[in-house]
C-alpha cells in the first residue's frame, strides 16, 4: 500500500471528490484507514457526548432521590424560559458581547503594531509576551485580579495615592468584565495578528499612491482584510465568556450569576442533571447562530 497515494486521494476527495473515482480498492482502504481514527474520535467522543447531553435535557429528575426519570418531557426548557433564567442568559450574552468588543478595540492597535510596524525581533518578543500568560494557571490569574480589585487592593491603593475616590470594583460585574477582558485578550490578538500580517504591503502602497489618506486606507483596505481575523478572535472571546463560571464565582458579586453558574448550581448543588443539560444547550444554540453569522462574514475563508 502506497501511503502517498492515499494522501493524494484524500486531497482530491477534499477538493470535490470527483477525480477519486479511478482510485483502486487499495487506495480506498488507505483512505478509510487514515480517516478512521479522527472520525472515530469526532463521532464517539465529541458528537455522541453532545447528543447524550441533548437527550438528557429531555429527561427529568426525581426531586427527592435525585435519580433520573427517563420519560421525555419539555419541562426543563419551560423552566429555562421562566423566572430568572432569561435574565441570567441575557446578562451572559451582554457580558460576552462587551468582552468581545473591548478586546477587539484593545487588540487591534496592538496586533497592528506587531504585524506591520515592529521589527522582526520586537515582533517575536511581543508574541512571546502575549502568549506567556497563557502558560500561567487560569485560576492564579483570576485570584490575581481578585487581589488587584478588592478593597485595599492594588487598584484601590493607587487611586488613593493619586487622591482619587476609590473605584470600589471588588466583587462587582465590572470586576468580572475586566477579568474576562484580560484573560481572553491573547485569543483576540493572535488571530488578528495573523490576518494583519497576511495583508500584502503592495495593497497599502497602492492605496496611498492613489491618494488615500491613512484613515481611508485603514477603513477601506485594512479593516475589510482583517475582518476574518477579527471574527475568528471574537469567536474565542465570545464563546469562552459564554461558558465560563469560575471568574464570576471568584471575582463577581451578588449579581454575577452567568449561564455557567446556573449549570454548575443545578448539576453540583441541585443534582439536577437534566436541567443542567437543558441549560447547556443554550450557549450551544447561541454559538451556532454566532458561527453562522461569522461564516457569512468570511471568518473561515482564511482557515
Amino acid at each position: 500500500m502506497d501511503p502517498d497515494n492515499g494522501v493524494t486521494t484524500l486531497d482530491r476527495a477534499e477538493n470535490g471528490g470527483t477525480t477519486s473515482l479511478r482510485s483502486s480498492l487499495g487506495q480506498r482502504w488507505a483512505t478509510a484507514f487514515l480517516l478512521a481514527p479522527p472520525l472515530l474520535w469526532f463521532l464517539v467522543l465529541y458528537v455522541s457526548s453532545l447528543v447524550v447531553m441533548l437527550i438528557t435535557s429531555l429527561w427529568s429528575v426525581n426531586s427527592f432521590t435525585q435519580t433520573i426519570d427517563h420519560h421525555v418531557t419539555g419541562s426543563n426548557f419551560q423552566q429555562i424560559a421562566m423566572g430568572t433564567y432569561p435574565s441570567i442568559i441575557g446578562r451572559t450574552v451582554l457580558l460576552a458581547a462587551l468582552v468581545t468588543v473591548i478586546d477587539a478595540v484593545v487588540a487591534f492597535p496592538f496586533a497592528y503594531l506587531m504585524a506591520r510596524i515592529a521589527t522582526q525581533r520586537a515582533q517575536r518578543f511581543l508574541l512571546a509576551a502575549i502568549l506567556l500568560p497563557l502558560w500561567a494557571s487560569y485560576l492564579a490569574k483570576i485570584f490575581a485580579w481578585v487581589s488587584i480589585l478588592e478593597k485595599g487592593g492594588a487598584l484601590d491603593w493607587s487611586f488613593r495615592h493619586l487622591g482619587l475616590p476609590s473605584p470600589n470594583l471588588g466583587f462587582t460585574n465590572g470586576a468580572v468584565l475586566i477579568t474576562f477582558c484580560y484573560i481572553w485578550l491573547p485569543y483576540m490578538i493572535v488571530p488578528l495578528f495573523g490576518a494583519l500580517e497576511r495583508i500584502p504591503s503592495s495593497l497599502l502602497d497602492a492605496s496611498s499612491d492613489l491618494g488615500a489618506g491613512s484613515w481611508w486606507t485603514l477603513r477601506h483596505v485594512i479593516l475589510p482584510l482583517a475582518l476574518p481575523g477579527l471574527v475568528a478572535g471574537s469567536i474565542f472571546t465570545f464563546s469562552l465568556t459564554l461558558g465560563d463560571y469560575v471568574t464570576p464565582l471568584l471575582v463577581g458579586g451578588s449579581n454575577s450569576t452567568l449561564i455557567g453558574n446556573a449549570i454548575y448550581d443545578n448539576l453540583i448543588t441541585g443534582g439536577n442533571l437534566p436541567l443542567a443539560a437543558a441549560l447547556s444547550a443554550v450557549p450551544i444554540v447561541i454559538m451556532v447562530v454566532y458561527l453562522l453569522i461569522a461564516k457569512r462574514l468570511g471568518a473561515f475563508n482564511a482557515l
Binding site: 443545578n266 453540583i268 439536577n272
Partner: protein, 400 residues
Amino acid sequence: MFRTTHRHGPRRAAIALVALSTMSLGMTLVGSDAGASGSLTPPTQGMKPQTSIGKGEGQLKLIAWEGYAQPQWVKPFESATGCQVSTKYAGSSGEMVSLMANGGGGQYDLVSASGDADLRLIYGGDVKPVNMKLIPSWKELRPFLQSPDFNTINGVHYGVSLQFGPNDLLYSTKTFKTAPTSWAVIYSKKYAGKITIPDNPIQIADAALYLETDKPSLGITDPYELTQTQFTAAVNLLKAQKPLIKKYWDLASQEINLFATGTTVVGAAWPYQTSQLKADHIAVDDTIPSQGATGWADSWLLAANAPDPNCAYDWMKWITTPQVQAEQAVSYGETPDNSLACPLMNRISAGSCVALHANEPDAYFNSIKFWKTPLSTCDNGKNDCIPYSEWTNAWTQITG
C-alpha cells in the same frame, strides 16, 4: 491549628472545577432506578444489620468531605485493622447523593453525609441499617446526637453521627461594639453592601428561622418544614436582602478575605472563619443570636451494598473514639460529637475545646437547628411542605 480551607460545597469552587471537568460520559448515561420517594418507610428499613464484626475485607472505600480522611487518623486505622482506605472526595451534598445513587451499587462503603443529604440517601434506599451495639463509642456521643432525626428513622439507625458546627453570625467588632443579638442585622439596609451569606439553598432555612420569631403569624415551627406561604415569605425576605448582599460566598476562604479586607462587616459563617480571622488579628467575633442558628451535622452512613461491611464497622468504631474525634475536630475546626473529646482537643491545640464549643452546655446545642433535607411530608402529617428541589430552584431565582 485548623488547616483546611473550606467546607461544603457549592462553596468549593476549585475542587468542583475538577469534579466538573472530569464528569464522565458514563455518569450522564447512568440513571439508577433506586428507590421510590415520598413513601414514609425507607426501602432498606427491613434489612437486618450484622450482629458481629467479622474479619476485615482488607479495604474500605469512602465518599467524604475533603479533610475528613486525613492521614493523621487514617494511617493508624489502616495499621490497626488492615483495611486500606481509599477516599473519593465530594464537592457538595448533591454530589454525594448522586455518587451514592449512581455508584452506590457496591462501589462505596460509607459516606460522610450532612444533614441536608441524609434523608435523601435513606429514603432513596442508598444506605442501610446499622447495628449500634457494634460501635462502643456511640454511647459516649452527646445524647441528642445518638439517634437524631436526620440519621435515625423509626428507631432504625442508618449510620453514626460524626461532627457538627453552627452557621453563626460573624461580625466586625469595629462596626459592632457589642455582639448583635438578632439576625435582623443581615437583613438591615444599614449594612447595605457590607453583608455576605453562603451561596447555598439551605440558607432559606436561615431566613425561615429568623421569620419564626420576627413574623410569628406565619406559624413557622421548623425551618426545614415550610408550607407554601411560609416558604414564599422566606424567599421574599431573601429577595429583599439581595441588593444588600456584597457577595454570596462559595468558599470559606472567600468570606475570610471579605472580612480581612473590611469589604463586609457582617454575615453568616462557621466558627472556622472566626478562628482563622482571629488568628490573623482581624477584629471580628461570632455569636449565636437570640433566634438561634442553623447548623450542619455530619454522619457516616453505611451504603446499602457496601462491599466491605466489616471494615466499614471498624471505621465507624474508630472514628467515634474520643481521640480521633478530637483530632478531626481540631484539624477541621468543627465540634466533636463525642462528649469525652474536649480534654484531648486541648492536648492537641491549647484552647481549641472552648474555641470550637466542645464543652458548651445543652442550651447551646438546643439553639442549633441542624440541617435536614426538606421533604414534602411534614410532621403535621400533611403533604404540603416544600421539598428540597423547590429550594434549589428558589435559590437560583433569588441569586440569579
